[in-house]
């Protein structure tokens, strides 16, 4: 056999190549089964970027389904709560061109809002509780309902089902805790920071004195 192969180098080469191909094929086949990834990792990453408002404005029942749809080729500009920043992040992740927000699905809200139930008017129908995607409404049948403000994502989904129209979306007020400095306006001179107030060495009366 070996002698025969040595006589015909072409056959030898062919045998070697076929052998290698079989071996690597088997290895790859095994690895594909052994190291199979559960779920869709891309969808997970996309889901991490989505704002988790669960508002359904994209046309999907929640952020996770939309993430899966994007992973399967759906457009990335259907999420108003994520805004332009969200689209940018998705475009970066998926290596796509960022597209402007599809206004068909709603506009970007500049101020986040939370649902507020006018409790005196609530009839306790539990319709809003069933509509809330994050279980942020507390109540029981024929009992007054109320919104857990800290858990509310401001998705608006509870407003529609309310039969007595007693739910308001209240824009969140800026408080002492949420206030923060804005980036300075480059042309303005009314800057609060004192360090830049004086040209260095200009106020040196102290030293001079």
């Amino acid at each position: 056999m070996i002698d025969y192969l040595l006589q015909y180098p072409l056959l030898a080469a062919l045998t070697a190549l076929v052998g290698l191909a079989t071996a690597f094929g088997a290895l790859l086949g095994y690895a594909a089964v052994r190291f199979k990834t559960e779920g869709n990792p891309i969808a997970d990453e996309i889901n991490n970027i989505l704002p988790q408002t669960q508002c359904g404005q994209c046309g999907y029942p929640g952020c996770r389904p939309y993430a899966e749809a994007i992973a399967n080729g759906e457009a990335i500009n259907k999420c108003p709560p994520g805004g332009e920043a969200g689209i940018q992040a998705l475009a970066d992740l998926l290596d796509m061109e960022p597209t402007p927000l599809d206004s068909e699905h709603g506009d970007v809200k500049t101020v986040p809002s939370v649902a507020f139930i006018r409790e005196a008017e609530c009839i306790g129908c539990t319709k809003c509780i069933q509509a809330c995607p994050v279980d942020a409404i507390l109540g029981a049948a024929k009992q007054m309902h109320t919104v857990i403000t800290s858990e509310c994502t401001g998705c608006d989904l509870c407003v529609e089902p309310c039969p007595v129209d007693c739910i308001d979306m209240i824009p969140q007020q800026e408080s002492m805790q949420t206030w923060h400095w804005d980036l300075p306006n480059p042309v303005s001179r009314s800057v609060d920071l004192i360090a830049t107030d004086s040209v260095p060495g200009d106020v040196s009366q102290d030293r001079a004195a």
């Binding site: 889901n47 989505l50 704002p51 988790q52 408002t53 669960q54 929640g62 952020c63 996770r64 995607p133 994050v134 279980d135 942020a136 858990e151 994502t153 800026e174 408080s175 002492m176 949420t178 206030w179 923060h180 400095w181 804005d182 980036l183 300075p184 480059p186 042309v187 001179r189 009314s190 800057v191 609060d192 920071l193 004192i194 360090a195 830049t196 107030d197 004086s198 040209v199 260095p200 060495g201 200009d202 106020v203 040196s204 009366q205 102290d206 030293r207 004195a209």
Partner: protein
């Protein structure tokens, strides 16, 4: 002489400290109104424990600490709680914050204070608790609760306790004034801290531009083992991390705490407050504040009550509003413009700066960054300010974090050094806030995701449970159908009768005749008992003329009837038992008997001839007609309702018709 280290960067701005230390610390006195914000420290705001109109004594707790990182608030003087409302406070946002407003009664009456001069008898947590109850928060500027800082985690050994007397920022002299006048109190406070922390060495770090203060401290510290370390003046040596590096040569790791390198730092003002709290039992209700700037005639330090409006304090120093361009809380490097002159002094107000426009002119417009690198030379945290500026402009938050933006202490040295007048620190502050906001948003999104998924799972689970239950029910139904499949073609009535019989049989099997008798006897006895109690009650009710007499009367009547029925049943049973020898034994079973009767009747009916049947029918109908007639007459006599009479009349007519047809049938049958 101790070896003093240096730190990277730093600047030498004009000091302007001499103006305010020409005279000693003056007492600011009692303002007409004190405004005490609930949040003067880092952490949870305190919770109000007083009501409007309540009279409080000096040093009384008016708001309790809420949570670990929080401190209580005390009344700075005796007086009445005028209001608990939102007021403007010294915060760059210009937002309102909840405050307690006290109108002093002028008596300045202290609540009872129990000091512990021999604090060494207390254990350390007890002293820390005293400090917490005294409402002491870092008085250098940040306002971090001192008790939290002193509660060092078990297991960490602290080598060095540092009292920060650096006061590196221009204009401010509050700590300097305290060192000059209250050196002994500072040393006593340091001793208390030393007792709590138990470090190997205790240092007081002071810049060499305060020679009087250093001398006073040295004199007071004689023989105490506390070392006063003097080092060259440079801004910002007073930054906690910078001071630690100067005194020990150790660098606090990025994002870490001083305790990680075995150091605890406390401010001079806090040290004095701790001395007051532990030795005299007095809470933190006043502090030393510098009032300075060219727009006040007599710049000086004041011992001022917390909550004093700045307007009052400025007036004491001879404020010249027309010359003042803006009012600053803190120093010229790290301070901020206050939104209004009526905001109160708080625990962290170390200085009020009222400069003229000439003294602190508005900055010229920022120019382009020329990448000169002067900011990098000035940065005490060894950051790359120009790079951070670049990223901040481009909102590249990830890169900002990679370049350790959060190690920036916002000292302003870079902005000071910048030849293009770029307000660098503002960019960093804004970016920091933005990043923190993004982190918060992400946290919230994460929580929402978890809740959404939990809900989704719950709904799915509920659906699956329902499905499973339905399947189980279906299976049971199928099995039942299968089991009864044998007797399928039979009459359901027959099946029901069978079931009833089976039940009866089971009952009969369980209890024999003897027990039946007992049961009846028991019924009679219990009925008798009930009757006696009910009658007793009725008598009582009658005696008291109660409104329930009637109801009780009917109750008694009913019970009596039941008793009679029971007795009858018992008698009947006994009688039938006596005839037990008779062959009609199964009569005991009523259902059986009824069935038998019905069957017999049917059979008898079947056995009759058609003529007989028709005659029987006729007789029955005639009987019914007679009965109806009788009722009708009775109703007419009793003048019953029209409706009833009409109905009865129609019934009579119908019955007459029926009788007629029955008669015809009978004739036919007879003819047949």
């Amino acid at each position: 002489m101790r070896k003093v280290f240096g730190f990277h960067g730093g600047i030498h701005p004009p000091e302007n400290k001499h103006q305010s230390v020409r005279t000693g610390i003056a007492d600011a006195g009692l303002p007409p109104e004190l405004i005490i914000p609930l949040s003067q420290h880092i952490g949870t705001p305190a919770g109000v424990v007083v009501a409007v109109g309540q009279h409080v004594l000096k040093g009384q707790v008016i708001a309790e600490a809420q949570g670990f990182v929080s401190v209580p608030k005390h009344a700075p003087t005796s007086g009445t709680i005028h209001a608990i409302e939102e007021r403007l406070i010294a915060h760059s946002s210009g937002h309102l914050a909840p405050c307690i407003v006290i109108v002093p009664d002028g008596k300045d009456e202290w609540i009872e204070c129990n000091g512990t001069p021999n604090y060494e008898t207390l254990d350390k947590p007890a002293i820390i608790e005293l400090i917490r109850h005294a409402g002491i928060a870092g008085m250098g500027g940040a306002g971090f609760p001192s008790s939290v800082k002193l509660s060092v985690k078990a297991g960490t050994t602290i080598q060095t306790l540092i009292i920060n007397g650096t006061e590196c920022e221009p204009y401010i002299t509050a700590d300097d004034a305290m060192m000059r006048e209250r050196a002994d109190q500072i040393i006593e406070g340091a001793k208390i801290l030393r007792y709590i922390i138990a470090p190997q060495e205790t240092l007081i770090g002071v810049e060499d531009n305060k020679p009087e203060g250093i001398a006073a401290l040295r004199a007071a510290a004689e023989g105490s083992g506390i070392e006063i370390v003097e080092f060259p003046t440079k801004y910002p040596s007073g930054g906690e991390k910078q001071l630690i590096e100067i005194l020990t040569g150790k660098q606090v790791p990025s994002g870490g705490l001083p305790s990680q390198v075995g150091v605890v730092c406390q401010n001079i003002g806090s040290t004095v407050a701790i001395y007051e709290a532990v030795v005299h039992g007095r809470p933190l209700i006043s502090r030393v504040t510098t009032v300075t700037g060219d727009a006040v005639r007599e710049p000086q330090n004041f011992q001022v009550l917390i909550g004093t409006p700045m307007r009052y304090l400025l007036a004491k120093a001879g404020y010249l509003p027309e010359k003042n361009s803006r009012l600053i809380m803190g120093g010229p490097m790290m301070g901020f413009t206050v939104p209004d002159i009526d905001v109160p002094i708080i625990k962290t107000t170390n200085c009020i700066l009222a400069p003229t426009e000439k003294e602190l002119p508005r900055p010229p417009p920022a120019q382009a960054c020329i990448r000169c690198g002067m900011c990098e030379q000035a940065c005490p945290a060894s950051l790359l300010p120009q790079q951070l500026f670049w990223f901040a402009q481009g909102k590249e938050f990830e890169k900002l974090e990679q370049h350790n933006l959060f190690d920036c202490i916002e000292c302003g040295a870079c902005s000071y050094a910048c030849p293009s007048n770029i307000p660098l620190v503002q960019y960093y502050r804004a970016s920091k806030a933005e990043i923190l906001q993004m982190r918060r948003d992400h946290e919230k999104a994460e929580a929402s995701r978890v809740r959404f998924e939990a809900r989704q799972q719950r709904i799915e689970q509920a659906g699956a449970d329902k499905e499973a239950k339905r399947a189980a029910r279906k299976k049971v139904a199928e099995q039942r159908a299968l089991a009864s499949g044998a007797g399928a073609g039979e009459d359901p009535i027959q099946a029901a009768i069978e079931r009833a019989q089976a039940k009866k049989a089971a009952q009969a099997g369980a209890g024999n005749d003897e027990s039946e008798l007992e049961k009846l006897e028991k019924t009679v006895v219990s009925a008798q008992k009930r009757l006696t109690t009910a009658s007793a009650k009725l008598e009582e009710a009658k005696a008291q003329n109660s409104e329930f007499v009637e109801a009780l009367q009917t109750g008694v009547d009913k019970t009596r009837e039941k008793l009679a029925a029971g007795e009858q049943a018992l008698a009947a049973y006994q009688a039938s038992n006596n005839h037990a020898s008779a062959p009609q034994a199964p009569v005991a079973d009523a259902a059986q008997a009824a069935i038998a009767r019905a069957m017999a009747a049917r059979q008898a009916e079947a056995a009759l001839s058609p003529a007989e049947k028709a005659r029987a029918d006729l007789t029955k109908l005639q009987q019914r007609l007679q009965k109806t007639h009788a009722t009708l007459i009775q109703s007419r006599d009793n003048a019953q309702e029209e409706k009833v009479i009409v109905a009865l009349e129609s019934t009579v007519a119908r019955l007459t018709d029926k009788i007629r047809s029955a008669e015809q049938q009978l004739q036919q049958a007879e003819n047949a």
